[in-house]
Amino acid sequence: MQYNQRLLLKGNEAAVYGALLAGCDCFFGYPITPASEVAHTAARLFPKLKRTFIQAESEIGAINMVIGAVASGRRAMTGSSGLGISLKQEGVSYLAAYEMPAVIIDVTRGGPGLGNIGPEQADYFQLVKGGGHGSYHCLVLTPNSVQEMCDFTVKAFDLAEKYRMPAYVMADGVIGQMMESVQLPDPRPYTYDPEWKMGRIVDGKANYITSIYMEYDDLEALNRRLQAKYREIERAEQCAEEFMTEDAELVIAAYGICSRIAKGAVSELRAQGIKAGLIRPQMVFPFPTNSFEKLLSNGKAKVVMSLEMSAGQMIEDVKLALNCKLPVELFNRMGGNVPSCAEVCEAAKRIYKEYVK
């Protein structure tokens, strides 16, 4: 049978298509705007393949159902938005401690508090810096198109399983809600059967999974192992798109929907004779420090502008990556407002005038 694998999908739908193509068996979720189509699509498609969909009683219920399914040796996922993710953080901390893979779609919205349903990127801290208790990280992939919503969800499963840790696909309200055409990848043959799953009998003893270590040295050892894993991920898995950065004097750092606007702005600025460039993190943990270090070694860049739909969260990682050797300025919108190309250009020109000429 010949199939057409190019479909018009919403970002939220594409994430679920990606999950099914990656061999995800279980979806547990709770509806929330602007992520609801993630649950809608899963509710429609998972049962058709006799896979599990449950509308959980709460975000807390959902993430714990994920824990149960993953511990049983199955691929499982959940999806939510800002405040729902806040509720899941307890479970994510446990997943990090269990060293178990799981994929969480976060279609971010405005905060703090109930905020609104407009797009924001203010979940950066809670996703990238841990979010729950304890010293842990999650992988955070930041798609900027519907195609990447699908592709990055597949990649999120791959990385989560490779490193045995939770992975977020961090979209925003725009990427989740918009439709674009997507070239869907082929489904994978299913071979998943993790050796660590609970109940696997090894030497007559059934495997168990825990996150409690009463001996201080044992817990310290777990923490040291986790940190070594995170350093290895920072070494091996950085992922960013660099656009016209080789000779750029002003470099915009932006991810998600902001990065698309920034790319348009870079072309516009170039047309006006300003040497602009873009670093677009495709993952924000690990943060693409190599791309920023390259700016330092090549010596052309005079200033970096962090473009964000938050009060300035990624900018801290940009500054750390540049080790304070280049000035970093923030241009941001909040509350559900998406920066326009015109206002990004205007801000860039203001900053360019101050730091370049």
Partner: protein, 492 residues
């Protein structure tokens, strides 16, 4: 010559020794002397052994004194977040239906911090057995007030006794669960004198038998001795349970529907064959109309084109935009479709933005448009400013007078709803608008080949959208044709 055989002894379901327990003592459990957990652990182990389900049993350990249950039970085990055992158990039970899930919880875990997870799992009738240890206080943290602490009972956090006026009454878990339809078996027992322990053993065996037979949700609540935190001897704590606790928490079986509940079957395994996955997620090539030959070449689309579709919820505004976007996809444009989302879509105004381009589309958001379709006056008032100086406006004549526009702008009116009503399906009004657009673009913008192709690509898109409703496809095509004809006659 006489031989001995063990009549009552250490269950084979327990590890021997308890290697996972840190410290030098590997023969005993970590519980305090006289604690009910050990008594209940032994009954559960005996039942698991009796029903032969050890290999496939999953034991969900709570937060509380029983957090280390995996030191003891040689079963698949996990120690989970506080109160979340039934949710984790749900995930395990659904993901691996061949497993037998036990959720073991104390009164803080089950009746306080995790009550929602518990009661919802009970309400869904999850295939699991829950053992609920009610000892009237928080043991692991040092004897604080629990939801099950009796009125006037002194604990570390109710030093003057539980005051029902401020702390409420103890939570009667079995009675609450008994208000739900799904649970199969509910019994409250006491781990006190031998007669009560024999009854408890029977209840535990019933819950494990139900588990083996996949009969849904069973709950056994055990009133359990906690002599150390209650500062009592073994005999005193038994008396406390038998005389004081049982007064508030009466013993007995509240429900047993095991006999009339048929044994459950293991559900079918997930479908993972790549061919089946393809069949569900991809569309069949046949009839999709997508091929390398059909590419739009009209000059008008050498530039990125932005379209705003606006009206009110129920007019098919979002699907009009969707059809346009799908037509663009079928002709190999880069395309984006962005809705207004949230409460707006459920009544009141609705709008979406469609962009098509031969290059990458930077942002799907539209603040200026080449084409504005306004189906209500309010929509025109809201979005009229976005129309470019040389843009095209299409409006619904039943909704407004012909609006004034700037000199370079073109404006066209259509009574789309009247056309749709004539066809017999008011939901087709959006296709009439697309028909009108075909006439307008055909006259002013498209090459003759592309103008001829417009109807074809519309048909392909609408056929794909309503694959399973041929009648709806026909109605939409009729509305499209009528809209096209009416606009063409205006343009003559």
């Amino acid at each position: 010559m006489s031989t001995e055989k063990v009549k009552f002894g250490r269950s084979k379901v327990f590890f021997d020794p308890f290697e996972r327990r840190p410290g030098p003592i590997k023969t005993n459990m970590h519980y305090c002397p006289g604690c009910g957990h050990g008594i209940l652990h032994k009954l559960i182990a005996e039942a698991i052994e009796y029903y032969g389900i050890q290999e496939n049993t999953v034991f969900i350990a709570p937060v509380g004194c029983a957090v280390f249950a995996y030191y003891y039970f040689n079963c698949g085990s996990i120690s989970v977040p506080h109160g979340r055992a039934p949710a984790v158990g749900t995930g395990a039970s659904r993901a691996t239906p061949e497993k037998y899930v036990i959720s073991y919880q104390g009164d803080g875990d089950l009746a306080a911090i995790g009550f929602n997870e518990f009661i919802q799992a009970a309400n869904r009738g999850e295939r699991m057995s829950v053992f609920f240890v009610n000892n009237s206080n928080y043991g692991m943290t040092g004897g604080q007030m629990a939801p099950t602490t009796l009125p006037n009972q002194v604990t570390m956090t109710s030093p003057y006794g539980r005051n029902v006026e401020t702390d409420g009454y103890p939570v009667k878990v079995c009675e609450l669960v008994n208000a739900l339809e799904a649970p199969v078996y509910i019994e409250r027992v006491a781990l006190t004198g031998t007669a009560n322990i024999i009854k408890a053993r029977k209840a535990v065996f019933k819950a494990i038998e139900n588990l083996r037979d996949r009969k849904g949700f069973s709950l056994v609540e055990a009133l359990s001795p906690c002599p150390v935190n209650l500062k009592m001897t073994a005999e005193q704590v038994n008396e406390f349970i038998d005389t004081k606790m049982t007064k508030y928490f009466p013993l007995g079986m509240l429900r047993d529907r095991s006999a009339e509940t048929p044994a459950g079957k293991v559900p079918e395994a997930p479908v993972r064959d790549p061919e089946d996955v393809k069949q569900l997620l991809f569309t069949a090539k046949e009839g999709s109309g997508e091929g390398p030959a059909t590419v739009n070449n009209s000059e008008i689309f050498n530039e990125e084109r932005r379209i705003r579709v606006s009206g009110f919820g129920g007019q098919g505004i979002l699907s009009l935009g969707h059809t346009l976007a799908d037509m663009a996809r079928l002709r190999h444009f880069n395309v984006s479709w962005m809705p207004s989302y949230g409460p707006e879509q459920r009544g009141g105004s609705a709008s979406c933005a469609v962009i098509l381009s031969r290059k990458a589309i930077p942002s799907p958001l539209v603040d200026s448009c080449d084409l504005l379709i306004a189906m209500t006056r309010a929509a025109l008032d809201k979005f009229g400013y976005q129309l470019k100086d040389d843009g095209i406006l299409i409006y619904d004549t039943s909704a407004m007078e012909k609006p004034a526009v700037k000199p370079g702008q073109k404006v066209f009116g259509l009574d789309a709803l009247a056309i749709a009503n004539r066809i017999g399906n008011a939901k087709c009004a959006n296709s009439a608008v697309l028909g009108a657009l075909a006439a307008i673009l055909g006259k002013f913008a498209l090459t003759p080949e592309d103008a001829a192709d417009y109807r074809k690509v519309f048909t392909e898109a609408i056929t794909e959208s309503f694959r399973k409703k041929p009648q709806v496809v026909e109605q939409n095509i009729a509305a499209f044709n009528a809209g096209c004809d009416e606009m063409s006659s205006q343009l003559v």
